[in-house]
Symmetry: C2
Subunit: 274 residues, 2 copies
């Protein structure tokens, strides 16, 4: 169904191609070093509780920006962003169940809709690679393995559920270095939440992830776990809002913010890359 | 042999009591929050290689200050320090073998002697406690367990040997937090060098440390390993200099520098606490 994809390093150009229907693929490796974001769109009735959920659970739900009700733009993250068209593929959830995966949601947009852009792991994976730490699922061309844990999120209204984690196997020395690096990326899930024994966080079989692909583990590796952006999707499934729209996995909102900026809190439009 | 000790929170007063021969005990808990240091004193012939050894191995040997040849003071670290008297107990090494443990070394001082003050783990242990991370050997009133590893230091002249590590058992979540905290304390061994499987760094039995006391391990703990200030003592044993003087274990040089300052490089006398 996806068209053959080329690499578009300019995020403004990339979003224009997406909007024109000429790009509907995964965004990994696209948009140069621009920060990519998870997207959640909810009606006003649900938005306030979801906002509280994000603020109480910042590791899995690092808030980059929240749109004004009814406004499909996110001026903090990029000039001219229109969330009705500018994500390559969406997921539409009705009563907490996945209903369809369109490439445009203009027909679903309402004047009470609030958008949430959440940091994603692409930012820190780039930093790990730059530090010489192997990101094994990338090297193998696989998706990162993800797991539901026995750690509960802090509930807000109807939004609740387990913390979902992503896992990257690496040596102990690399794990220590990864904590040091990722601690800087508060807007990309920050430092790991666990390492070592998976059973301590309720994961019974590391080789059977709940989402993503089977891990690639090298001799001497230990599993290192990060809070994951799938957590809010699990919370939406639990809350069962009449309508929720998210990006499709891997098909992210590409912003104009340089990825390295995910180590700072975005303070306002003045923070936007010129 | 030690006299009954009272708590002296002012480092200048504490050093005066030590110099007067009225205090010869361990310095843990003494001197308020003042930075404490490991001490090494060598003749000029050995000093240049030892200085290179420290600079090539900054994790186990974080250099706080190096004295001028023949000067028993360390003005960078405290007003009026006289290293011939101001440490409660010394160790005198001849040809790499421990020879005596005096409380004063005035009779051994020579005009070519160079002193080295190295950061110690007390600084970051305080920070761990403040963050609510249990430091189990402290709680049990024991010395920290220490181990020789299969990791080699970078040799400099005759100074060489294994990296010695200290070990603190804690939960995985605490270990991640400890990496974040200790990374700030570059002058107190910095972030851990290893965690998890001891065999990966050549430790065959965690319950049989090479130095210090048997560890106290709680269910779910993982071992976390830091580069240790015993490493330079092992390097001195390997180098076998005709004469070397160090502090006795636990009997440290107490400086005038606030402990929290161990997260910065000391730049010069202007850095000294007023």
């Amino acid at each position: 169904m996806s068209t053959p994809q080329i690499v578009l390093s300019d995020p403004v150009h990339l979003r224009a191609e997406i909007r024109a229907g000429r790009f509907d693929g995964p965004t990994a490796g696209q948009g140069g070093d621009a920060l990519q974001a998870n997207l959640v769109i909810l009606g006003a009735d649900d938005a306030i509780d979801f906002l509280r959920f994000c603020q109480m659970n910042p590791r899995p739900c690092p808030l980059l920006a929240v749109g004004e009700a009814g406004d499909p733009g996110l001026p903090l993250l990029g000039r001219g962003i229109d969330l009705r068209h500018d994500v390559p593929r969406y997921r539409v959830w009705r009563d907490g169940e996945l209903d369809e995966e369109p490439t445009d949601i203009a027909g679903l947009w309402r004047s009470d809709m609030v958008s949430f852009a959440l940091g994603c792991s692409f930012s820190f994976e780039d930093a790990l690679c730059s530090a010489g730490i192997p990101v094994r699922h990338q090297q193998a061309g696989r998706n990162v393995p993800m797991y539901r844990t026995s750690i509960a999120t802090r509930p807000a209204g109807r939004f609740s559920g387990p913390l979902v984690v992503s896992m990257r196997p690496m040596s102990a020395a690399a794990a220590i270095e990864a904590v040091r690096i990722c601690d800087r990326f508060a807007l990309a899930h920050g430092a790991p939440v666990h390492l070592g024994d998976p059973a301590q966080i309720g994961i019974t079989d590391i080789m059977r992830p709940d989402y993503g692909d089977v891990p690639v583990v090298a001799p001497g590796d230990i599993p290192v776990f990060w809070a994951c952006g799938v957590t809010p999707q699990a919370a939406i499934a639990a809350a069962r809002p009449a309508l929720a729209i998210t990006h499709a996995p891997g098909h992210m909102l590409v912003t104009d913010i340089p990825s390295a900026r995910a180590d700072r809190i975005l303070m306002g439009p003045g923070d936007l890359a010129k």
